[in-house]
């Protein structure tokens, strides 16, 4: 059985990035290899100069959802990029940026946070995904 977990990160709001970071850290703690592929707005959130910025929430959060998220942050919940850093410290977590999205956003590898390991095309992504599960967020 291929236990590699592949996560495609598309959305760039803090709630979805946090969900992705939690899934990544949980899988890494169980020893599963995790492969992240950053596309569109998720890739934009991984820019070195913006990773710690406020990326807002998904539309369905509403005012009550926003208040709940802020309360958790005020209570000391780690931001998603910190959870992602801890997941990488466990090992077995690889983060790749989608080449097409790099072109779309007019960014180069030098613009990305060091959490990102490299840049790859969709074919390389599917090859790395193998027979394992793929999740799109």
């Amino acid at each position: 059985m291929d236990d590699t977990l592949s996560l495609v990160l598309f959305s760039g709001t803090d709630d979805k990035l946090n969900a992705a970071a939690v899934l990544t850290a949980g899988a890494a703690a169980l020893g599963r290899p995790v492969h992240l592929f950053l596309q569109y707005w998720a890739l934009d959130a991984f820019r070195a100069d913006r990773i710690a910025a406020d990326h807002g929430l998904a539309a369905e959060a509403g005012a009550a959802g926003e208040a709940a998220v802020k309360a958790l942050a005020a209570a000391g919940q780690a931001p998603w990029h910190e959870t992602m850093r801890q997941a990488k410290e466990l090992g077995g977590v690889e983060i790749q940026a989608c080449t097409l999205s790099m072109d779309l956003l007019h960014i180069t590898e030098a613009d990305l946070d060091p959490l990102v390991d490299g840049v790859e095309g969709v074919t390389a992504f599917w090859l790395a995904a193998g027979e394992g599960q793929v999740v799109f967020i």
Binding site: V22, A25, G26, A28, A29, L30, G31, L72, A75, G76, Q77, A78, T83, Q86, A87, E89, L90
Partner: protein, 79 residues
């Protein structure tokens, strides 16, 4: 049987939300030798099921799981 082996390490994960208690434990247990015990304190209410699942998957035995007020306490023996 009463557990008498001394604790080799304590992880204070109080105030941390899922999955950081498990992540901190996974990192901390690496520094121990096989058979040594690690204690974890947590306040995340989901941590009980998480530690049971993590123990089952990794093979590190969960020798104690208890709760005192809002603080959960786990003791694991490194595989």
């Amino acid at each position: 049987m009463i557990e008498t082996t001394p604790l080799a390490k304590t992880i204070d994960a109080r105030g941390l939300s899922c999955p950081l208690p498990i992540v901190k434990t996974a990192l901390g247990i690496r520094e121990l030798s096989s058979g040594q015990l690690i204690e974890v304190l947590a306040t995340d209410p989901g941590s009980t099921k998480d530690f049971e699942a993590w123990s089952k998957t990794t093979g590190h035995a969960l020798v104690e799981s208890s709760v005192d007020g809002k603080v959960f306490r786990y003791v694991l023996r490194k595989k």
